[in-house]
């Protein structure tokens, strides 16, 4: 049986009296890509922040075989979990290379000084970053920033990479590139928890999928199955796209 890298049980997060996440359950298997889709304000970002320990939460989070009662960011990073937040949170007035080096900070602290090698791997994945290595991060284009944010997270050699809306605000061509890289990362054995508004692309690349609505998991199952579910199609994929494609295929 495949081991699970992440298990989330009955996770609740409240902002004051407002409950943003209610009894969420979620599992990420080792080497899998799991996506969480859902409309704005459904609690997707809240879910990632709570798992990472940025936000206080109730519930049980098991990461890499050990229960984290009170997840704490620094500890989660040192155990191999990394979050690429929606706002990227790059170090704008520092060079691309410095941003990458800092991605390996926690490993460096733990005495694993292999960041030079990891950086070559990241550059191989994102040749564009290598071209711009000495440029300030704040001067990069949107797509390059996203690449840098992902590259910086990869510098920590994560076991689980959590991506929050990696395609947000990017041109379609760049979005395709980002999803290609997500697929590439899976081949390298990185487990990925992907939060996306771009449901079509997310369901295509993912193994498992969850639909989050108003703070609760509304649906879950294999990504392919969800992509065919009429409710998902209607709410997230739209009638114009895949549904039509499918009709066309069956019509032949």
């Amino acid at each position: 049986m495949m081991a699970n890298i992440l298990e989330v049980k009955d996770l609740c997060v409240s902002y004051g009296k407002v409950e943003a996440l209610h009894n969420a359950n979620l599992t990420v298997g080792e080497g899998q890509i799991v996506t969480v889709i859902g409309p704005n304000g459904a609690g997707k970002t809240t879910l990632l922040s709570a798992i990472m320990g940025v936000l206080p939460s109730r519930g049980e989070i098991t990461f890499d075989g050990a229960v984290e009662r009170v997840p704490e960011v620094e500890r989660m990073v040192s155990r191999g979990m990394n979050l690429v937040p929606e706002k990227r949170e790059l170090f704008g007035e520092m060079s691309v290379e410095d941003n990458l080096v800092l991605g390996a900070f926690q490993r460096y602290r733990m005495g694993l000084r292999d960041h030079a090698g990891t950086m070559e791997e990241v550059y191989a994945l994102f040749p564009r970053l290598k071209e711009r290595r000495s440029q300030m991060a704040g001067t990069l284009s949107g797509g390059e920033r996203q690449m840098l944010a992902v590259g910086r997270a990869l510098m920590a050699r994560p076991k689980l990479l959590m991506l929050d809306e990696p395609s947000l605000g990017l041109a379609p061509l760049i979005v395709r590139e980002i999803f290609r890289i997500i697929g590439e990362l899976r081949k390298r054995g990185v487990s990925i928890l992907l939060v996306e508004q771009n449901a079509r692309a997310a369901l295509q690349v993912a193994d498992e999928a969850y639909v989050l609505e108003t703070g609760e998991v509304a649906m879950s199952g294999p990504a392919r199955q969800l992509a065919d579910d009429p409710r998902v199609i209607e709410a997230y994929l739209g009638l114009g796209g895949k549904h039509q494609d499918r009709l066309a295929v069956t019509g032949e």
């Binding site: 990472m52 940025v54 960011v73 620094e74 500890r75 990073v77 040192s78 990394n82 979050l83 937040p85 706002k87 990227r88 949170e89 790059l90 170090f91 704008g92 007035e93 520092m94 410095d98 080096v101 800092l102 991605g103 390996a104 900070f105 926690q106 460096y108 602290r109 910086r152 997270a153 920590a156």
Partner: protein, 339 residues
């Protein structure tokens, strides 16, 4: 010319303090009023070591260490087991005790000056991170104003303790060098050269630290984007302790440098710190080079005004801040605090 030389010497000290203030503010958003106290602590601790007495600062170090262990001990034990606890105890209790023992049983007053300076630094510098842990870390996420209020409290406490440790008498220490040189029409004292040289060396060392080492970069990253730095595993607590250690190092070293050329009283630090603060404000608490230049300006202005209008020298120096603030508020757009 003599005044100018005096001004540049003092300015070099103010520059160091201004850099420390900018650094502390950028990384932790703390306006570090007690920066000057480290100057007094450094100078007076060295003076007491020279006099062959046990400086009270080492007891403060022990007391602060005990507090840190009380705050962190249980947490360390829970998280990292006995090993981590021993590390916390070692740094915060065993280390101060070792210093006490060393000073009590070894006649440190006969040591060469450099060793005495090193000993002073060993006593004063660890106070920085300990003060951060005890006073600031519990309220690290609070607003700038609350952090400022904490700073005032720390300042008052440190001045009071300084009076207790060192008494109301001022002290001077022996000069690093009695040499003096004649350059053209000017007499340059060896101590001035020491001050300026050490300041420059420290500034270069700081620049290298922030530009080349991963810990320096981590501090810069925290100053630029706190949330992003956290996600890299750079904890605000680590950044805060490291920053305060640098601030204490700069303060104590400034104190050691200035002690032979000025009589330091228990409360002198505040005034010196304030002048560094004026310089830091000239740089908008953000720009290191402008803060350093501002510090030289403050030093020179102070030297000349003490000659021509000595009763008003402090007034003139601190009045400098008003046009700077007016100019700053006119030229810069108001930025909402976004944290």
């Amino acid at each position: 010319m003599l005044l100018g030389q005096d001004g540049v010497t003092n300015g070099a000290i103010y520059a160091l303090l201004a850099l420390a203030l900018v650094l502390v503010f950028a990384v932790t958003r703390v306006i570090f009023i007690p920066q000057g106290e480290f100057v007094a602590y450094g100078a007076l601790t060295l003076a007491m070591i020279e006099a062959g007495r046990l400086p009270g600062t080492v007891w403060l170090l022990l007391a602060a260490g005990v507090l840190v262990v009380a705050l962190d001990g249980l947490d360390a034990l829970r998280r990292g087991g006995v090993g981590r606890l021993m590390k916390v105890v070692g740094w915060n209790i065993v280390y101060p005790l070792a210093l006490v023992a060393l000073m009590r049983f070894v006649p440190t007053d006969t040591w060469p000056l450099a060793a005495k300076v090193a000993l002073t630094m060993a006593v004063v510098v660890p106070l920085g991170p300990m003060i951060y842990r005890v006073a600031y870390q519990p309220v690290a996420e609070a607003s700038v104003l609350i952090l400022l209020i904490v700073s005032v409290a720390v300042h008052v406490a440190m001045v009071g303790l300084a009076l207790l440790f060192f008494g109301a008498e001022g002290s001077r220490t022996s000069a690093f060098s009695d040499a003096s040189f004649t350059v053209g029409p000017m007499m340059v004292s060896g101590q001035s050269l020491w001050v300026i040289g050490t300041s420059l060396a420290l500034i270069v060392a700081l620049a290298l630290f922030f530009g080349r080492t991963i810990y320096g970069k981590a501090l810069r990253a925290t100053a630029i984007n706190r949330a992003g730095a956290r996600l890299m595993g750079i904890s605000p607590a680590l950044a805060g302790r490291l920053t305060f250690m640098l601030a204490a190092l700069i303060g104590a070293l400034s104190g050691v440098l200035i002690a032979p050329i000025a009589t330091i009283y228990y409360d002198t630090g505040f005034l010196i710190g304030l002048k560094g603060f004026v310089a830091a404000i000239i740089g908008g608490l953000a720009s290191y080079p402008i803060a350093a230049l501002g510090a030289i300006l403050v030093g020179v202005l102070e030297a000349f005004s003490s000659f021509w209008a000595s009763a008003y020298k402090e007034v003139i120096v601190f009045t400098l801040i008003i046009p700077v603030l007016v100019w700053r508020s006119l030229t810069s757009h108001h930025v909402e605090e976004d944290e």
